[in-house]
Symmetry: C2
Subunit: 460 residues, 2 copies
């Protein structure tokens, strides 16, 4: 019996129409990245588990897809030694056993492989190293709407420079990418040093992560719930009274900076953050950025490794999470043996950008990824007449197809229609005798005859 074909939960097939849209996104970001001197690299999908484990927290470790060792993975394994005693009785230490039989895993993101790449190839690289990377990543997340187990990331990072020019360039890239796509965006910027400063002036510097995690939720759960969470994390009422006005801060960027300078006056790291923000917004104002750029002190971003600027980009005319985000990290490569390598990077979310472009009908109309002309097939003699004509057109860069089978014309018309082909080139006995091709415009229905010899000189 034949198998009913299916794919694993959380994975997707992309058909021709979706791929046209996705390639438009990839090509757009790629061309902008290149314009700023970023270079493409690729790393293997499979990394050693030792490279991946411990980099994403305990939760992340659980979401790694592990690849079974090839060959006799289970031979010689003493299963007894993986038994654990629990209150419920004996059970298998599944985690330890899986590490024994799996030495490799699928990459979880592009950041850790990038850090590994930089350290491994440090002698071949010219620093500051500006790279972009567009590849799939895998996460054993519970599949749900908009969350996939295999999805692409588009990362652009510069490593080996502390200059805020890099932050500026990333904002310029965001501005140019979404400008090209016609998506109105708001770029939100904050700085982790400001968040550290807030924790410091609260008198609870050890609570920086808790504060960050809590205020990161303000958009989702609102001020009161954030305050409640801060209380649960044992922030004092005094601390909360310092944090609350920061979250509610309004006015221009200059006004916000002025206010925060007062709040953070006593914190060295906080004032360093203020200085960085002031410089960055100064650079931005001089660079002809068209998108809205906002200082958002409630922006925190979950990842622990950020140490300076953090970014998040939202589409203004479409309800969806952030479509791009990132930040500066001061020590991503340290764990692989190369300390003090500061870097900054952002990641574009291809799936969400696709949804925005589709939802707002912003995909360009001329990227249908299909042929311009379909030559109908009325038999062998006609095809022999058509083949050199089609070859000529292709030599001029015109995309064309010859319908391969001499079936009913209706079927050939339908094929052209379903594929979105613009012109039908009809060749029967009359056309051959006259040395012409009948060209039918499928959207207007208009039909005309063209000299077969001159057809490749026309504009298609």
């Amino acid at each position: 019996m034949a198998q009913k074909p299916s794919i694993p939960k959380g994975t997707r097939d992309f058909g021709p129409v979706e791929m046209v849209g996705r390639n438009y996104i990839f090509n757009t970001v790629r061309s902008v990245f290149a314009k700023y001197g970023f270079q493409c690299i690729e790393t293997p999908s499979i990394e050693n588990l030792s490279t991946l484990l411990g980099k994403y927290g305990d939760e992340g470790d659980k979401l790694l897809f592990k690849v079974l060792n090839s060959g006799d993975a289970f031979s010689g394994i003493d299963f007894k030694s993986y038994e654990m005693q629990t209150e419920e009785g004996t059970r298998m230490n599944s985690n330890a056993l899986s590490l024994k039989v799996c030495e490799k895993g699928l990459r979880y993101d592009l950041t850790v492989p990038f850090a590994r790449f930089v350290v491994q190839h440090q002698n071949e690289i010219s620093f500051p190293f500006k790279r972009y990377q567009i590849q799939p990543v895998w996460r054993a997340d519970r599949p749900q709407k908009g969350r996939y187990r295999e999805f692409y990331q588009c990362d652009v990072d510069v490593i080996g420079s502390k200059s805020l020019i890099n932050e500026l360039e990333l904002v310029q890239i965001v501005d140019e990418v979404f400008g090209k796509m016609g998506i109105n965006v708001c770029v939100k910027i904050n700085n982790r040093k400001i968040l550290a400063g807030i924790a410091e002036v609260c008198g609870q510097p050890d609570k920086m992560v808790d504060i960050t995690v809590a205020i990161d939720k303000i958009d989702k759960i609102g001020l009161d719930a954030v305050k409640e969470e801060l209380r649960e994390k044992e922030l004092t009422e005094n601390a909360i009274s310092i944090i609350e006005p920061v979250l509610l801060l309004e006015g221009t960027t200059d006004e916000k900076i002025a206010k925060m300078s007062e709040v953070l006056a006593a914190s060295e790291v906080g004032m360093k953050g203020i200085e960085e923000i002031r410089t960055l917004f100064g650079l931005i104002s001089n660079a002809g950025i068209k998108s809205e750029v906002q200082l958002d002190l409630s922006l925190a971003r979950g990842l622990n490794y950020y140490t300076g600027a953090i970014f998040e980009v939202k589409a203004k005319d479409f309800e969806i999470g952030s479509i791009c985000g990132g930040g500066r990290y001061d020590d991503l490569t340290g764990i692989f043996g190369l300390p003090d390598m500061s870097g900054v990077g952002i990641s574009f979310g291809a799936d969400r950008i696709y949804d925005v472009l589709k939802g707002l009908d912003l995909f360009p109309k001329d990227i249908n990824g299909t042929a311009d002309i379909l030559f109908t097939n009325m038999g062998e003699a006609e095809t022999a007449y058509v083949i050199p004509i089609a070859a000529q057109l292709r030599a001029r860069g015109v995309r064309c197809e010859i319908y391969p089978d001499a079936t009913k014309l209706k079927k050939q018309f339908d094929y052209a229609d379903r594929k979105g082909i613009k012109y039908l080139a009809i060749v029967g006995g009359d056309e051959m005798a006259e040395g012409v091709v009948s060209i039918k415009n499928l959207s207007t229905g208009e039909q005309r005859k063209e000299d077969a010899k001159k057809i490749s000189d026309l504009t298609w």
Copy 2:
């Protein structure tokens, strides 16, 4: 202690220079595929093991990378029930156990996922379906020179049409792709029906596969060894005396066809093969193909599913295996429940094509993937002057970088040099006062001053 970073055996990192070359290959094939009306699809890297198993023979099954079920993969497993008794004692049935804990695997090629895709989406597809697919595949092969565990395939197939126009188009695509790249190729063509016919006239039609496998080796092991192998496979001396002259056949395509028509006169399938070859070569002669195209009766290709034309492409000026190959198959989708879908396709070997382009120095010189201009960084004031100029240049599509840090000029020069950047744009106090930018051509050493306002109007 820091981990020493490494990647799994048989996998590769691709740095900026390699990626420029690889993307040149992918973009070239992609643009040609599109010109013939082929459309891009992508399938997930992870497929259900049930989709993959049994499609590549026992050897192939062993080379599948299996992905461990996420979560508690080993919980509740009765390991006892996987024990096997062998002469040497009790051992684990590793294969059965791995299937229990792994339901998914990494795709082994793009053909089986394509067949699965066609069946699963048959109601959304307009047949004949012309698709291309450029994605990595994984094989747990023993790593060795030129053989990788993760590598890209570039497949182009049309399914749902028996017309030989499709075979012609694939030859045209090969001709155009390698023509664009400047690689001289020889396209070798044979037909499986001819091989079946030979087995038939030998009186041993059941030996078709054995004959195919043996004569596939003639290039590697020579005539005598092939004959020896045929004897081992229990081909009669009479059969071998029929096969031998076929392998040694010389002359023009017409002469070969004429001779084979005599040999195969008694075989219906053989004569069908002759007819197909005659038609295909007729089509080819009318299509303006520039590459050498050869009927090669010793061409067999290992894969069992081919039933008609088979192709193989060799670089004429570089010693390497075939750089492209494929053929027609009559029932690839049957196993997934869609019988009688004839298709034909070829696959381009990106790694080997890369080696040929590199070995013959054929990569275009203007695809260096780096910025055209590097603006030096002499401090904050200079950078503020430079940022709008760089923005203007980028708006005109010129790729440029600003060196992010105000370090020694020597270091900035070296950076430009190592990245292969053509021009250095130097801005110090003098240039700012004059409203100019000093442009240094790094290959000629020539330096000139350009009006800062007009710099984006120049040709770079």
